[in-house]
Symmetry: D2
Subunit: 335 residues, 4 copies
């Protein structure tokens, strides 16, 4: 059930070294302009090639298979695929013997009884986030005028990103990072009580991304050290705006019209060039594992477009869900 | 769609001051012993009455409406309700004029066009977690031998809980807290790639709880400051055990057989006895709001049983989901 | 997953001889007047007591547990239960030895490994349709001004119902029947392409009812013998009205604004007073089974209110679903 | 939400004259051999080209985009697409003026506010059933040793199909038909009480097909004229086999291990060569419509492979669903 969302539903498919990765978006409202070039900006923001990212560079050309006619959405499911081109036929089967620490090799092999596509992590690869970003581009159109902007706060605790990358690369190591995301013009009223709270949906999709270790909204981890008198956001005007924003933009799990404010912690890329002393299932003892090939020294660098996509997908879904409250049959007449 | 889970599905209903709150659990396997007294222990752990919790005490007697025959589950949906008894008929309509800071009053009124049950927060009340704990009791039986144990790490940053409560009560204030949860014997292989990762499901249900501001797994927020060489958990044995547990028990979103380790940050109870200067929608200006009545000074105190319930629900759902991988038709013979 | 519907979602629970049967309806729009007495008319139409129906008479008093405040829906899930009162403690365990022909005894025992509640058919009992009718009452309010009317066409092929009942009762037998349902004022545009076609949803819920053997829409089984030139419904006016109605009110699975017209075939009640020569699992040979107790000679008599409930539930669900097409964000401005 | 199924979930996308049509199958168990040539047989059975079918012939070459590695399923979603090749750029916009009787032109235009892809019926085209057949091929592998076989009973009431086709073609008309489907070796125990009854799922997916007007199981429409003593299927052996099969293979909505036996009525193809006097929305009066182009004189001819696919999809879904009843944690030890 590789899907997210109740109305604006996003379903991913594909593997890192298979023929392509793709996404189907259900319930895209008809009449939205959508063309291949619309994806370019966000796809490029996610792309590798910069310092600290993998030299595996994909052309990442979106191909719209369905749901668009004459450059406009039709109301039918929109499927977009990206062909995988820059794959290498190196042998990944060694990772069934020595599963890479911090990777899905061990758990995927076990879960799928050895039938999983282990090449490049298969279905577990961050490669699938290119399709998620594509869904995000569509979601962003639905969300307007709500707009999300994600930025890197720091990597490795250092706010000088260039400097930190130089250090990490010199050490043949990798490093984690923190991303902040702000949502403006998100209308009040989005989210459902209990299981579909705005932040519950957001946390759910964010933790679907590879390498996420923490999600915070508003005051976040600091809330545990705060008093109520300090944490409460007092209302200041008739549109529900508050003096402070410890809530991060929701009350009772429903957006309040204040700024959405959340943060995501990414772990360091598990693939590092240094040898790692881990377990060999064949030899039945520990051994040194050396991972060759291409990888990001800091995957956080590529995540802002992905985090924005997640927020836009949640918002589009709940916006469409909310239209049911506009429903007025004749029932009022009968009362 | 007040439901969580794909197979072991939990659906909540009820309001704080309505006649009852309840839960329906779908796909409870037949043959599990289940009686009203099984709920007692966890329900009591959630109960108020201790220092720092509300003097509203509910008898919280579970009534099994369906799905159990002669003390054993039948395979049919299990519905359990708790009647609300200790409700007070005080006027909550003032909170449509002056919505309480940090509460759902403003957003719920707006979302439901004023038709929401505002008494005690209605559907948004933490009262519903009594039904969630009941679902957790059932889930815990399904999960065995996996067992979750949640504990309060600190409240207000102070690990001396009694002392901190005395301070907070003396100040007529409330305080946040941090809860840690450990899962032992959780089998490897739980979780699905991308949107149903173990931690994605866990984060989703945890953020469904009222007052949650952060969720961390394994290294959590510290991961952003770590190097890969430090963060990677090297395997030490053929069962997938690792030397360290920065992952918190999952790899690629799938449980690895290591200990599940996550933390939840709760904000301070928004209801405080002190006057708060907030907005009056009737007067169209700011005014002092005084909240009378009964509330928890530290809602965190009541959450460990709730957090465990969430973890057990996710685990039960993914355990049942995983049975599909046991499916072996005759397809292998035909190849 | 005892649920039906994507937006207006109906979830049933309870057993024939358990404490109660009930239903939870999700996404009931807020602001609809709803009181216990609203259920009376349809509940009574489903009731037994007339000639040809079982002498087990339940008081069938609806109890609203949630989702209604001051006689108006709040937007929260609406749960309604009916306590079972007129149950008899007779021994049903004999039906594990000799499962009744035409009943669920054999399949339920096998499926649930003997843990199913076999008393009165448990979860498989037509008793659950009282809860479905309650959901239908709510759905009917949402659907207005669309109105469904179901009627018995014949029982046992005889359009003189009283006469046929007399014959059947004299024979200590039971009899099947045909019910027709007409929907007026159903707006055009309901239904989704492929899997959520209007008639696909309708057929799905109708076959969820016990004892259904056929579902036909419009021309129904006669369509197989017709020519296209005869079957096609030509349009006659700008609102899409057609000269004939072989389609039964949908085109491409989407309502056209014409009258919805479908028929349901019910089998004869499987419980009959005559001895039946069937298999004894204990004796490992065939034996005569005599079913004592109370049953309907013609269950069809009680179905019109149930069939209407099904149609209203489908319509309410698709009406609410359709509100997403009303969604207009700012995306048009940005094009 | 263009999906069917709870576990083995089938999601369709694509339009008749778009770039391709496709299907994503979720939860295909890992380890099943799957190659492009496996689709050939059923795809060919659905193909046009024979007498009475459209001269639009598609090469229908399946392209597996995901979920298969080295000819074996991996456990990841399986996506298969078919590129559309034999499309004609003729002007379909005339059907917004004069919607074809019996087609989706009118309802789709209305529902999607004119943004639907009207070329060849777009998403509503029977073209999508090629993707459904592909899903059926996968489902059939999961279902083994259960096997479904569908056959045409008659077209236009005539069991001499060749003769009837000659008549119809001579008349420049089209004709309906009846298809029967038999399922052997379907294990007992499939189906869930109430909303996921075996026949409810089956009827739901069958009515998702274009042109279906009736669905009958077992005794079908004849049940309304039968007595209970005649309709009941008495058990004859310890494996639940029955003397007769009026039930059509289910009891209480759960398969009994007897033969699955159902029938589907298809209407005549609505596109006919004869002029039809219908409504012109531009002229605001009735006018003669002449439909040019390629179409099936009897679409029933192409449906047996599609009907089998539907049955196999339902069966695969419920087989996988049923694995949850195999779940045995340690809960029994704790009782």
């Amino acid at each position: 059930m590789n899907s997210f969302g109740s109305i604006f539903r996003v379903s991913l498919f594909g593997e890192s070294h298979g023929s392509s990765v793709g996404v189907t978006c259900d319930n895209v409202p008809p009449g939205i302009s959508l063309q291949e070039e619309d994806f370019e900006k966000d796809i490029n923001r996610r792309k590798s090639g910069r310092k600290g990212t993998t030299p595996r560079i994909e052309s990442d050309i979106p191909i719209i298979l369905s749901g668009v006619c004459d450059g406009v959405t039709t109301g039918a499911p929109v499927t977009v695929i990206f062909n995988n081109e820059n794959t290498r036929s190196k042998d990944y089967s060694m990772f069934r013997d020595m599963p890479r620490p911090g990777h899905s090799d061990f758990t995927a092999d076990l879960k799928y009884n050895g039938f999983n596509d282990i090449r490049g992590g298969g279905m577990f690869s961050a490669r699938l986030t290119v399709a998620l970003v594509a869904a995000g581009v569509i979601a962003k159109k639905i969300c307007l005028p709500a707009v999300y902007t994600a930025n890197i706060v720091h990597i490795g605790g250092n706010e000088n990103i260039e400097e930190e990358l130089d250090n990490v690369l010199a050490d043949h190591d990798s490093v984690g990072g923190l991303v902040s995301c702000i949502g403006k013009n998100v209308p009040a009223g989005l989210g459902e009580p209990f299981f579909k709270k705005f932040e519950a949906q957001l946390a759910g999709i964010i933790f679907s991304l590879p390498a996420v270790k923490a999600f915070e909204i508003g005051s976040g981890v600091k809330a545990s050290q705060m008093r109520g008198s300090e944490h409460n956001d007092c209302f200041i005007s008739a549109d529900g705006k508050t003096e402070t924003n410890n809530s991060g933009g929701t009350l009772g799990g429903i957006t309040s019209g204040n700024i959405i404010d959340f943060r995501v912690t990414f772990k360091p890329t598990p693939s590092i060039s240094r040898p790692q002393n881990t377990y060999s299932f064949n030899k039945k003892t520990r051994d040194n594992l050396v991972i060759e090939g291409r990888h990001d020294a800091c995957l956080t660098l590529r995540t802002p477009a992905i985090v924005e996509a997640c927020a836009a997908i949640v918002t589009a879904d709940l916006l469409l869900y909310n239209t049911i409250y506009n429903y007025r049959g004749k029932h009022n007449d009968s009362q």
